[in-house]
Symmetry: C2
Subunit: 371 residues, 2 copies
């Protein structure tokens, strides 16, 4: 047990979470949308921990999004409810979804096809309980969802609204905000997505299809909401609990907002090739960023001239961006803190997170994994 230790004494590689920053990130997002009069339905996929979910829901443990059924079961077991499995309903998982829908007060599923809806229709829930089904629409993101302009989307919404299913909401992920650089671009995507979803809601109303909730989400758009988003009912960002270098590059946050690090130690000096070796490979960081940052696969905290040029399973190779290494500055055994490019991906590599306040470990959080 590492509680009470200093983070610098942790065995490496270690995934650390700054609790003060996480709390600030969670609270700011809550306040931001409270001010707009919009409910939060935070996404659990980044951290996958009960403790993180508790902070993101302000302790209510209600109204969350998950990306896997393993998360759904885990959070349900942990006392969470009103859980949206925001994933195109996989055909092999209808039975498990039915079990969760029976067990929880509100378990929501999502579809973007008549075929998936048909599976639900064929499996009515006991006791006359209706399936809460969300329609996924694609507002120019280009992943899942029927296109917001596609007449098939309206038709599917109408079919969802018929018993034994009900249309619980319309869901759009503005993942295209990940291509933005800077707040104006982010807000342009946020505004466009909001308008498209609201237009779709308007059409539903005109068609007489009841739908209580319009929800959009992505950490960039929800970090810099536009006033138009006040007309939505919910937002569902997730990554903001940790933030990361990718979000910094997009303009969602600043370095001070990034709550997570991978601590690593220097394990080798190779002066003939001007390289350090550290004890963090892709099992500790993931290959996200694909090495495309000016500093390679991550930022090295406090050392803007260090570049993580490559990783194998348990080794990371660090060079200087320019110049020659001052070896005395990085003795064998010394600690470096990597700031992850993609916190979701890095967190997924770690069986435990070391949660600290001002460098003192106060808890270990254990994420769920698998499907």
């Amino acid at each position: 047990m590492q509680v009470g230790q200093r983070v610098e004494d942790l065995p490496t590689p270690a995934f650390t979470v700054d609790l003060d920053v996480v709390k600030k990130n969670a609270q700011e997002m809550v306040q931001r949308f409270r001010a707009l009069g919009v409910n939060m339905r935070p996404h659990m996929k980044t951290h996958k921990t009960l403790e993180g979910g508790d902070l993101m829901t302000g302790g209510s443990r209600r109204r969350i999004v998950v990306s896997t059924l393993a998360e759904a079961r885990f959070f349900a077991d942990g006392g969470f409810d009103d859980i949206l499995y925001a994933y195109p309903l996989p055909f092999d998982k209808v039975g498990e979804c039915a079990a969760l829908a029976e067990r929880l007060e509100s378990f929501h599923v999502l579809v973007d096809s008549h075929e998936a809806l048909t599976l639900l229709k064929r499996r009515p829930l006991p006791g006359g309980k209706r399936w809460k089904v969300w329609l996924k629409i694609d507002c120019e993101n280009g992943r899942a969802g029927l296109r917001h302009t596609d007449p098939a989307a309206l038709k599917l919404a109408r079919a969802i609204a018929e018993e034994p299913t009900e249309l619980a909401g319309v869901y759009a992920h503005c993942g295209n905000s990940y291509h933005c650089q800077g707040v104006p671009e982010i807000q342009s995507v946020a505004r466009a997505t909001t308008e498209r979803v609201l237009e779709f809601m308007q059409k539903l109303q005109e068609e007489g299809v009841p739908c209580p909730v319009a929800s959009i989400g992505s950490t960039p758009s929800c970090s810099h909401p536009v006033p138009e988003m006040a007309a939505l009912h919910e937002v569902h960002p997730g990554n903001y609990i940790f933030y990361d270098v990718q979000q910094m590059g997009i303009g969602s946050c600043q370095l001070k907002d990034v709550a997570v690090r991978v601590l690593t130690r220097v394990i080798g000096h190779y002066p003939h090739r001007n390289q350090l070796l550290v004890d963090c490979g892709w099992t500790g960081l993931s290959l996200h960023s694909l090495g495309q940052l000016p500093t390679g696969f991550a930022l090295v905290e406090g050392h803007p001239n260090l570049k993580l040029v490559g990783m194998t399973q348990e080794h990371g190779r660090i060079e200087l961006v320019t110049g020659e290494l001052d070896w005395a500055q990085f003795p064998l055994g010394s600690l470096l803190a990597l700031i992850p490019y993609h916190a979701c991906a890095t967190a997924a590599m770690h069986p435990a997170y070391y949660v600290h306040v001002k460098g003192q470990v106060v808890a270990t959080w254990k994420p769920v994994r698998g499907w």
Copy 2:
């Protein structure tokens, strides 16, 4: 519990292991080096399971390599012994290494610096037991190790050989074989690495430094050994238990030798962009290959014209390499088998492996993770 199920009924994404192929891969490697009179010390890092270790050691559970202390503890707990922690000794882990060295008949560590050796010298083992220390040398691979031509390597070897440590072996990883294409290139690296290590052993002998073992390893070089390798004492490949698309590209193996798949289901049809969505993202496959294969991030078994063009956390996007999709061929819910680019990386994403014989699940293997 999935034992007895058909693999096609498994919940997806699912990491499957063909037991017949794994057994064949393990046995062929054993036979290959028995014929050369060289001991196997297989690396556990790819599968990280007791069952895989059992097969690779021919049931002896002796003489293995691990890449993390978590693996060392796991295999020790599972009855394995003669374990080499083939990793530049991390300064924070000397105490744990001492505990393993006391507990096991043979626990070996590895160094490539005087600083690391000094830590061992300062912590003698109880009862006069000597630390078994391997010297890592770099034979043009360019990761860890002192260069084979560096006089500092000989000097360090001499220092290791003095009590309370002993020089248990010389270790070289021919990771540069991963840049090869085809057997002649692989064998050229295997031969060069072997010659460099044997030259180094010769120098040790001339200097009167006793060293019982010279070991090289990498799956490419050990899949196509050269006769010169008969002069080595050990080899330590690891990936060959599974093999993968990367190894196919190098020339280590053929498709029939790749034991692992990630099963995934079609969850979306998007004809307007000629794309399928499947329920395997980077949490199920990893981002290895960086999408650089002609078929993107993986091969899709039986469908050479499918390309996994991108992944997010739980979604994979599949297009055709050329032409237009025949949607009827890939109905929603239908199964595809992804052949991983890098089996070590893909295995690391899965809490359980579904082991099958001719498509019927016969066991689930649970790998260790963490550090």
